[in-house]
Amino acid sequence: QVALLDIDICGPSIPKMMGLEGEQVHQSGSGWSPVYVEENLGVMSVGFLLSSPDDAVIWRGPKKNGLIKQFLRDVDWGEIDYLVVDTPPGTSDEHLSVVQYLSAAHIDGAVIITTPQEVSLQDVRKEINFCHKVKLPIIGVVENMSGFICPKCKNESQIFPPTTGGAEKMCENLNVSLLGKVPLDPQIGKSCDKGQSFLSEAPESPATSSYRNIIQRIQEYCDQRHFQEEKII
């Protein structure tokens, strides 16, 4: 049973990617209902609260924090196995607030996404430092857009060149796990634009096996943590 919470208040992409554009949030006695993609996948995003795709959420920090609090407090998720929180780029209000508000619930950890080039790694090192500062465990790093294989000649190109060793070197230096690398596949963008599951549409893609391996490693991490916590209890 999975819940996906989109706290990118200014740029909520999740509704579109899940094929849920235009859906609205319903209120009941027990709070806000998530919008369900399937019986076992519920989604919440500010995108569902906007009436037009042109509506901009031009809010300063405190107002964004208020909505995030509501999302965490008032959404009736029911019993869930995983709450996945998608965040905007940065190390600011949204990130501080979600860590603060979830502190009592014991966050398993953060998955940090980067692309291979130094311009990206530079920012990701700051994100890793943010996690250390707020005592957020790091499950690991994913190197996205890692290489492209030309569909015609099958040669590989490094469109975002790992000039400083990519995520692999960074993870070594900072002692965090590299969960995996996901190659560029034009079908990923297409599926997201259509709101369909890339994993179902392109089961043979090398990107699909990358995703699946990464997800498995995340599940193993969470299972281990759960096991350790139970031992302590």
């Binding site: 200014c10 579109k16 901009a56 080039q117 990206s120 430092n129 015609k152 060149p161 000039t163």
Partner: protein
């Protein structure tokens, strides 16, 4: 007392709704192109959490000094044709995270707009983080008295990116910021081995959005590994790779900006 922006002829913001689409890249290449057209350019980097500009000019180890009128911007070379200001120059260590809430970010942005002694510039390019929040509201408010030329919006072609950039257009409308045009970045990849073009991030979304919103479409910039490499190494792509696939697109965007400014003055 003369304001620090009094000598700046044109102020241009580079915006996007979405992260990772190439705002800092476009800001950098625009500055390099304008320099090659003989202009003096400054870049103000108001991305406080993820400041990319210093590295793109190989200036990441530079420090900022004070003078009587405020902060001295960092000059990229001896002829002082490009100058930079970024929080990146103020960090003790490059990996230090700036974990600030809105009010603290707003205070620094106000300082960045008022207290950098730019001197005389043809163009001040303001590079922003993704979104429509504190940094954007504060930057536009602080720049309002200086009547910015307008904003360039950067998107990648796919609908998920365009969906956020639509909101950025609304931000511009609501804050009275003129939209100079939309750039569709990462638009197609030409394989260096066989020249096959693949639309890795789809194609056309930026152009469609420009049409829908009634704003100029400035052009498509393709994915170009030589461009990525240049940015990694802080090199001058415009000077070094004039035959590269991204060069003509970037040159055309610059020309449209220059044409726009000459129209405005006449």
């Amino acid at each position: 007392e003369r304001s620090n922006l009094a000598g700046v002829r044109h102020i241009l913001l580079v915006l996007s709704g979405k992260g990772g689409v190439g705002k800092s890249t476009i800001s950098t290449e625009l500055a390099l192109s304008l320099r090659h057209s003989g202009k003096k350019v400054g870049i103000l980097d108001v991305d406080l959490c993820g400041p990319s500009i210093p590295r793109m000019f190989r200036m990441q180890d530079s420090d900022v000094h004070q003078c009587d009128s405020g902060w001295v911007p960092v000059f990229v070379d001896q002829d002082k044709s490009i100058s930079l200001m970024s929080i990146g120059f103020l960090l003790e260590k490059p990996d230090d995270a700036v974990v600030w809430r809105g009010p603290k970010k707003n205070a620094l942005i106000k300082q960045f707009v008022a207290d950098v002694a730019w001197g005389d510039l043809d163009f001040l390019i303001v590079d922003t983080p993704p979104g429509t929040s504190d940094e954007h509201i504060s930057t536009v408010e602080a720049l309002r008295p200086y009547k910015p030329l307008g904003a360039i919006l950067v998107t990648t072609p796919q609908a998920v990116a365009v969906g956020d950039v639509r909101r950025e257009l609304t931000f511009c409308k609501k804050t009275g910021l003129r939209v100079l045009g939309i750039v569709e970045n990462m638009s197609g990849f030409i394989c260096p081995h066989c020249s096959e073009c693949t639309n890795i991030f789809s194609k056309g979304g930026g152009e469609e959005l420009a049409k829908y919103a009634g704003v100029p479409f400035l052009g498509c910039v393709p994915l170009d590994p030589q461009l990525s490499q240049s940015l990694e190494e802080g090199r001058d792509f415009i000077q070094e790779f004039p035959k590269s696939s991204a060069f003509s697109a970037l040159a055309q965007i610059t020309q449209q900006i220059l044409d726009g400014t000459s129209q405005r003055s006449s």
